[in-house]
Assembly symmetry: C2
Homo-oligomer: 432 residues x 2
Amino acid sequence: MSITTQSNKNRNVLYAQAGGVTAVINASAAAVIEAVRQHPDIFGKSYAAINGIKGVLEEELVDLSQLQWVDLEKMKHQPGAVFKACRFDLDPLDHNPAQYERVLEVFRTYEIGYFFYNGGNGSMVTAQKVSDYCRSKGHEVQCIGVAKTIDNDLDLSHCSPGFGSAAKYLATSFAEACLDIYSMHETSTKFFVMEAMGRDVGWLSLSAALVTDIIPDLPLIVLPAERRFDKKRFLEKIDQHIAQKGYCVCMVSEGLKNEAGEYLSIAGIEHTHERDYTQLGGVGKTIAQLVASHLGCKTHCAIPDYLQRSASHCVSEVDWKMAYGAGKAAVEAALRGEHGTLPVIQCSEKTGHSIQWCYQSVELEKVANLELKVPDEFLTKDGMGVTSDGLDYLRPLIQGERSPKFINGLPNISPLNLETVEPKLTPFQAMK
Amino acid sequence: MSITTQSNKNRNVLYAQAGGVTAVINASAAAVIEAVRQHPDIFGKSYAAINGIKGVLEEELVDLSQLQWVDLEKMKHQPGAVFKACRFDLDPLDHNPAQYERVLEVFRTYEIGYFFYNGGNGSMVTAQKVSDYCRSKGHEVQCIGVAKTIDNDLDLSHCSPGFGSAAKYLATSFAEACLDIYSMHETSTKFFVMEAMGRDVGWLSLSAALVTDIIPDLPLIVLPAERRFDKKRFLEKIDQHIAQKGYCVCMVSEGLKNEAGEYLSIAGIEHTHERDYTQLGGVGKTIAQLVASHLGCKTHCAIPDYLQRSASHCVSEVDWKMAYGAGKAAVEAALRGEHGTLPVIQCSEKTGHSIQWCYQSVELEKVANLELKVPDEFLTKDGMGVTSDGLDYLRPLIQGERSPKFINGLPNISPLNLETVEPKLTPFQAMK
């Protein structure tokens, strides 16, 4: 563990958000802000960067003292990223040293002694780079990661803040759709598939199996990204379910690959500064069409897309608490003098539907860019179902409800009106 | 108005559900059952048919006395159709007289004096046919329709039970996704489209405009089924929004047609007994791809599909009350001696977010198979936005929340365990 011993008294704080949002990322933001405010003897001014590290480079900063209690309370149930989140990473140092010099310039100008970066495993690379560079130049900033990702692929963590809420939303929606199909399949749709996010990990697709807790004999097929799609065995299983129950429901990972290891469905290629992301989406439709032509009957497909990562009206209370706790734990890590670390979730007790957890710091470099896949023991032998071990893991993460208040029929959510600080430096264009 | 004067004392009741489900159809079912139970002096035994008119033909009936208070309470928040809903209509009488004879045989055997058919405008044709035939044969059954459809296309009714909840779900989900896009568009997705159900009517697509109540300057485009898609003007509007706001969001009707009057996206053809339904779906993807290639940037598309008609966790209280009231009004119509009628919703007062309504019976034949389109005054001149008149109409329908209780992290919903009666007649196969 890296511990700094120098006095950081009254040095300033910078918080930023990066990567795909979750329904609870702003609970982490509120937690960082609230925890920092509890220590006016240690922390100086607090800032947030707009658009993550891009906002740092472009000196697009918000003075957080403008946020009142009412803003923080609202923020805690707000989807999206209140300070905007970027899909933008720093280039490697030798490719683009100017970026690093600029970050340092901004940090020095605003006397940033604490940098909290709220993101997934990709964003932790950025936090690590910033930490390393600043220290190599004698600016002792404490960079601490704040975990989030709906994908649940953060290594060394029992689970990722954001996952539980997405899983709860998917399981709830899927349960409702299952009752729809159940009640109409005799004269209409016999196969329904829903597409879950998850590039190379199938954690979210597993949430469908939670529905067996309320519909025990559900004719369900799960197609997680970890298993190659075996068309023959899939269609055999379809036939079996249709013969027994008259209908079949399925949850598929957007990143499902065929036996040759190619994605079944690619929506496009997203070019970012540092790398190309293959944009996935539409595999549900591919599966629905396959089954329609196999069975010669009506099939339907739902693609919730961003809805699953933004459904603040269907948040898991456990997940919300984990997200809030992740922000608080990051500030506590800073208070302990850590730098280059990420507080991850350690499960201390788990029975039935309940879970106790704590946060333990790990080195950023140990989680950066790693990807935690669904373990074999969570999947049935045929790879198309979830074991009781898998269900035991999932259940505690979707417990409890925590929604924004509804006003006039709609959730009380809207962009915060944030004023950015007057720039002190020469302009810098992050994306050319 | 058709009024029967004969004594129906102690004749039995039959209730059935038909057509695409809504999140509140079972509130109507519970209302019929509860209202009937309040008049043991008038009504005899109560039955429900499984799978609508198909269950009548096949003598698949449920004795409703088995339903306890707790079942009715659960049913009131249950998605799907608890008695199963059919996509099956009776053939024309001269094509298939055997069907009509069978319905009459079942009605006579079970001494059915009241038939409540819960469905959309298509199902009202079936109710009408049954009513006409039975009366022509001297069996004085009182057929009363119970309105439901998420499409909101029932003519002569201020709105349709089921629509408000679907609109609330779509507006809520869309609002959440809009904050997602808003917070990430500078480095990621710049255009997001969501596909709403609605074959030839765009009512549900209009719900996106409700989000302007919480995000007033939302760069929104609405593409309702009532307006032909004008690619050039659409892309111009996209460019305008992107230039002003940096992003754009859109809600499109699944039944959007091009300037030649052809559906932009057809998922398949569904062959039913009486007619072929063109199965729509996927127009959102078409629009997303068009914008992606026009802007050369990342776009995303959500297709909630069945989720929007089954989202019991996001039900509008006003809609729920309208659905419950529709069931109650049907029983009251029966008590008044009506037959061949449908109680529709009359708006008696509407101010801001609130609405007062009552039910008024109309002849079934006046609404059967008609389709109420979005009126011109609800759409802006360019056809891509909703006017303040449109918003004034929509707002009251999404007010209030009414969700099932969540138990262990999931809504307390599951198929009811219903025992069907021992058949008394020779088997009859409805679908050959």
